[in-house]
């Protein structure tokens, strides 16, 4: 960075950063350090005394079949959500890139779900697909599919994945459109002149050039599926049936806030913290690549 022209004040800058700093220290760093500390404590059953146990809580959590299940659930949920919403968004973006007429109208109609709260998105899909009054559930049963996401774990998973992916389509669509626009049209026309058909042009030119956007969206969608979908799980399935849709974030909330198992919950929080740090690191490590052609 080149030396900048700056103001000489000594006290003023501290006053300017003070509000943000105060909030981060009180509501971010202090609680996070408490989570770290508590993750190494274990309380007796009456909550009267607590003992420092080093990494015992972590060992306990990682050996817990319910936690392992939750890791599986989160992995399936995140991969399915990211893939589904990215594939749909990519198809729509490629089509939108082709047409000129009504292009802005399509965009306007496709960005709505972004503004819908995840929990409400979940409720809308549950309204459509719940076994008692859902119209689409009715249609599925009429087609002979035994549909009951409130009792069948895999169907509950399908439902929350659909709701979560639906909400993310808008976001992915806008980024794919931006990515496609950055690809020089001459490149594609040159390939067409050389006789490459549409599918071939897509796979050999467009898709590789979109790789930075795709990778970036993959990270963002994973973060979304991990953390921002709490509302969907909480509103639609409550982690059930059984523990079929209990994601890591939902489990932390449930163990800590509902069941009040403090040490375990804190250890789970710390594990999540490590995951966020890894994801953020990946995001910032590769963030420049995203704007390669822009």
């Amino acid at each position: 960075m080149t030396p900048r022209v700056v103001f000489p004040n000594k006290i003023l800058p501290y006053l300017l950063v003070a509000p943000q700093l105060a909030i981060t220290l009180v509501f971010f760093y202090w609680p996070a350090s408490q989570a770290l500390y508590q993750s190494m404590l274990r309380e007796d059953p009456f909550g009267l005394k607590s003992k420092f146990v080093w990494f015992d809580n972590f060992k306990k959590v990682l050996a817990d079949p319910n936690y392992i299940n939750s890791i599986h659930v989160t992995a399936i949920f995140s991969i399915a959500t990211a893939l589904l919403s990215m594939v749909v968004a990519l198809i729509l973006a490629v089509m939108a890139d082709k047409v000129v007429r009504s292009r802005n109208l399509y965009r306007t109609l496709l960005i709505w779900p972004y503004a819908v709260a995840p929990a409400i998105a979940g409720m809308l899909w549950l309204f459509l697909f719940n076994p008692s009054i859902g119209s689409l559930a009715y249609a599925l049963r009429w087609m002979g599919i035994p549909w009951d996401p409130l009792l069948k774990g895999d169907q509950a998973m399908v439902l929350v994945v659909m709701a979560a992916a639906w909400k993310q389509i808008s976001y992915n669509f806008l980024f794919f459109v931006a990515g496609l626009q950055a690809i020089p049209k001459t490149l594609i026309e040159a390939a067409a002149i050389d006789g490459a058909r549409e599918f071939k042009r897509f796979w050999t030119i467009v898709f590789p050039l979109l790789a930075p956007t795709t990778f970036f969206l993959l990270v963002v969608n994973t973060v979304y599926a991990f953390f921002d979908t709490f509302g969907i799980i909480h509103a639609v399935t409550g982690g059930g049936p059984g523990k079929a849709t209990e994601t890591l974030v939902y489990k932390v909330y449930n163990d800590g806030f509902v069941n009040l198992i403090l040490g375990d919950s804190a250890a789970q929080s710390v594990i999540l913290m490590v995951i966020v740090i890894a994801l953020t690191a990946v995001q910032f490590r590769y963030v420049e690549r995203k704007v390669h052609y822009g």
Partner: protein
């Protein structure tokens, strides 16, 4: 997509008219899939409870629009946990505006300090703000809740807003933008006798207008759609946001859920942020792309 959408589809080399028709068909299909849940919620909000309870629901709106909406808005007191819908909308608006404006103010101030001043610990502060990206609420639920209890912030607007207004993303965005402002501008302002306040008010703020608008749309949506945080820090139904209240109204196992009113409430929870996104589309798209850089 900045160019006007008028006119006919112009074919590129290698494109066929059939391909364009297929593209339109797929897009229309996509729009139907994407818009359907929202459209159907609207349809449900205009039918009677009896119609909703007997699937399949008709695909077209019913004749109960006025009855349902007026019952939810004016007569439905006591149905949503005893709280009028107006209170819920008011709470949600306060929270969304509070978060959006709060984040913008404290971020623009810290970015201003970090870019236009030199002081000890400057970069330390920058990193302290940056690292909050890695500490979302989800990883510190219980201890943060305890802080809220200790500070007496449960069931208050301050409790719903203040802890969420620290923003690494907004600070980074403003910092990046400020770094593009030429030093000559600062120099000129200083020669003309402008102090840091004048410079901020008369030069920096007007230059940041589009950034602020773009950020505002994104942050308003962020505030409006909050879930976990209001769930943690409100016990009193009077302090619920509309999203939380909606969750409390719905029970799929319980036959007493008044679906027609639930659907009206859902519409009221969905429409304001959709309007913001659609009407401020230009800033929304810009904000989205900017905040992810």
């Amino acid at each position: 997509m900045a160019e006007p959408s008028k006119g006919h589809d112009k074919l590129m080399i290698g494109q066929s008219p059939t391909g364009i028709y297929i593209a339109h068909a797929i897009l229309i299909l996509g729009v139907i899939v994407v818009a359907f849940p929202i459209y159907y919620t609207f349809v449900a909000s205009t039918h009677s409870l009896q119609t909703i309870l007997r699937p399949p629901l008709p695909l077209l709106p019913g004749d109960r629009f006025i009855e349902n909406y007026s019952e939810a808005l004016f007569g439905g007191v006591g149905r949503i946990g005893g709280v009028p819908v107006w209170t819920l909308l008011f709470n949600t608006t306060v929270v969304a505006l509070g978060i959006a404006i709060g984040k913008i103010i404290i971020s623009i101030l810290s970015a201003y300090a970090i870019v236009f001043f030199r002081f000890p610990l400057r970069m330390t502060f920058f990193w302290i703000i940056f690292i909050t990206l890695m500490l979302p609420v989800e990883v510190r639920i219980l201890p943060t809740y305890k802080v809220m209890v200790d500070l007496g912030l449960i069931d208050t607007y301050a409790g719903l807003i203040v802890p969420l207004i620290a923003s690494a993303t907004a600070t980074l965005l403003f910092r990046q933008f400020f770094l593009t402002i030429p030093g000559e501008l600062v120099e000129a302002a200083r020669v003309d006798g402008a102090g840091p306040f004048r410079f901020f008010k008369d030069i920096l703020l007007p230059l940041s207008r589009t950034n602020i608008a773009a950020l505002f749309v994104i942050l308003f949506i962020y505030g409006w759609t909050q879930y976990l945080w209001p769930l943690l820090v409100t016990n009193d139904n009077q302090m619920n946001t509309i999203v939380i209240a909606l969750k409390k109204m719905v029970s799929f196992a319980d036959a007493d859920t008044e679906w027609h009113l639930v659907m009206v409430t859902a519409m009221l929870a969905i429409v304001p942020p959709i309007l913001v996104v659609v009407l401020m589309q230009r800033w929304f798209v810009r904000g989205l792309v900017d905040t992810e850089k």
